[in-house]
Symmetry: C2
Subunit: 335 residues, 2 copies
């Protein structure tokens, strides 16, 4: 049974492409508020769980002196803009480390202007520009706090990754299996997990409901940091940043590779997990925006401003409007 179409891409009024996927919206007690497609099969959550991966960093005390910006960048898939790089460097300095300790690999900044400026200056991208460098700096600080050798922090049985795995298992209620473990783009392990359990984890992350006090406090601190500094969670012009800038504490939202998106909607007491079958971010964003618009209260002005996330317009190299992405199928059904 195929998952339903979640979004379609229009060109000149015709559907040119379409994207299938699954959506889970769950409350902190595990009650399902919305289920589209298969939410039981495990999917790799990729970077969508960076905020959960940051829980041991905070709970361990390793982040006790961290600024809110540093906490936000620890949860980030950032665009490699100068402010992101400086924040990651500050985190590393706390552990008397520098970029040479990072094991995420180097890639050019996702932000085009930042990439052009780097090349114009005759520089090469480093691991600091990798969108995962904040998470990796967090892993390194956690490894230092745990008095383990920081060098191997990407290995699945390193104490830092064992702590991350235990935190995700506990908050999601899912048992993670090494049979369903793969290597992420930044070389840390990623364990597959059902969307329903992912959504439950984010419902708990957003509300603290059902969490031990120390974990609930860590989640609240990370959420507050991201709500206060959404630019540090992604970057200029990015979906996660702009949605959180618009809606503040009402939404924590985070992208992952291959069409995964997670969100916590604290006011509604809900968690959201989405996987676009084909890995397309453009469709996962439209699906996430549609879910947020359904479950988060907005003023008329906010709803009007939010429409560009639900039905983004596509323009060509000359700026001519050539089409749009829009929600489709069961996502359009009335609640």
């Amino acid at each position: 049974m195929d998952n339903p179409v979640l979004a379609e891409v229009l060109r000149g009024g015709l559907a040119e492409s379409r994207h299938h996927g699954a959506v889970a919206v769950v409350d902190a007690d595990g009650a399902v508020a919305l289920k589209l497609g298969d939410i039981d099969s495990p999917v790799f959550p990729r970077s969508a769980v960076k905020a959960l991966q940051a829980l041991p960093l905070v709970e361990s005390g390793a982040a006790d002196g961290f600024t809110a910006e540093e906490l936000a960048v620890a949860c980030a898939s950032h665009s490699g803009e100068p402010g992101h790089v400086a924040t990651v460097q500050a985190m590393l300095a706390r552990g008397r480390l520098d970029a040479s300790a990072l094991r995420c690999g180097a890639h050019a900044p996702l932000n085009r202007d930042a990439a052009v400026a780097l090349f114009r200056a005759g520089m090469q991208p480093s691991a600091l520009h990798n969108n995962c460098s904040g998470k990796h700096a967090g892993f390194l600080c956690l490894a230092c706090e745990l008095r383990s050798d920081p060098y191997g922090y990407c290995e699945p049985d390193h104490p830092a990754q064992r702590a991350v795995r235990a935190a995700i298992e506990s908050i999601s209620g899912a048992q993670l299996s090494d049979e369903r473990r793969a290597i992420d783009g930044c070389s840390v392990p990623t364990w597959a997990i059902p969307l329903e359990k992912l959504a439950l984890a984010f419902a708990r992350f957003g509300s603290g409901h059902g969490l031990p006090p120390r974990r609930a406090m860590a989640a609240a601190r990370l959420r507050a940091a991201c709500a206060a500094h959404p630019w540090h969670v992604a970057g200029t012009g990015r979906f996660c940043t702009e949605v959180m800038q618009l809606l503040g504490h009402r939404v924590f939202v985070k992208t992952g590779a291959e069409g995964v998106y997670c969100a916590a909607l604290p006011a509604a007491g809900l968690g959201v997990a989405i996987k676009c079958d084909d890995g397309a971010t453009r469709a996962a964003e439209v699906a996430m925006a549609t879910v947020i618009a359904r479950f988060v209260e907005m003023s008329a002005a906010e709803a009007a401003a939010f429409e560009r996330f639900v039905r983004p317009i596509l323009r060509n190299w000359n700026g001519i409007k050539v089409g749009a992405v829009q929600p489709a199928g069961p996502l359009l059904a009335e609640p």
Copy 2:
């Protein structure tokens, strides 16, 4: 009825993402050799038909003095490398034109090294770097040959686009409708056309069978130019270029945006048209490679070298193998 899965993306041995789509393989008489999914509904062919769009350029005599490299770049979605840019400039100079006449819009070279070198030199991308600039230079030369105002060559009613539309209608046997016309990324019109008719067009393009002599000669000249200069059709490291470098005259293959791919397999007398439903190039490439491997005779050494197109390996930022893309579903069935 959904189209079948054509390709899946593995991570750590698990299918992380999957891509649906449709495939048509047709001979020059219209007999269907392979049909997967819906090949009757019109799809926007985008850049996959650049070689057909170049037919009026050659038939009109406008390209009589063109080099083979210039003909190849007229059929190209090139990577904006210096050799591509120089070839396009030479074409424009034939019409006493320069880059200011191009209406395709500017974007950075698709080739990363070329883009970095451009920015390092303090330059901005121009319309010459647009992957479609060769096609546009061809349209401009055609417009001059037709003694029409070159300025409006992107408009659907301009004599150049009318000639292009007539050529595609004639070679495909499909009637193109302005109801199903949209604007392409480079601002020229794109008319939706069923995959079966697209495949028929490329079977005829590859064999000349069923074409008037002048058109058959134009097709043969374009094919020979692309087979001799596959680098000019795409660029360094690109699928179209490397497949044609490996298989020479046996395959003409061309990518289009949103997961469209077309090919002519002259020795087999077949044309191929593929559309990945979600627009993913990675899946359309794997599907095209699988079709080519089935219908084109190769030596054992060629088949071994070709395997990397059928099952490309995915590596992360540290060069670690994290997964692969592979054909799936009915594409795997024995012929």
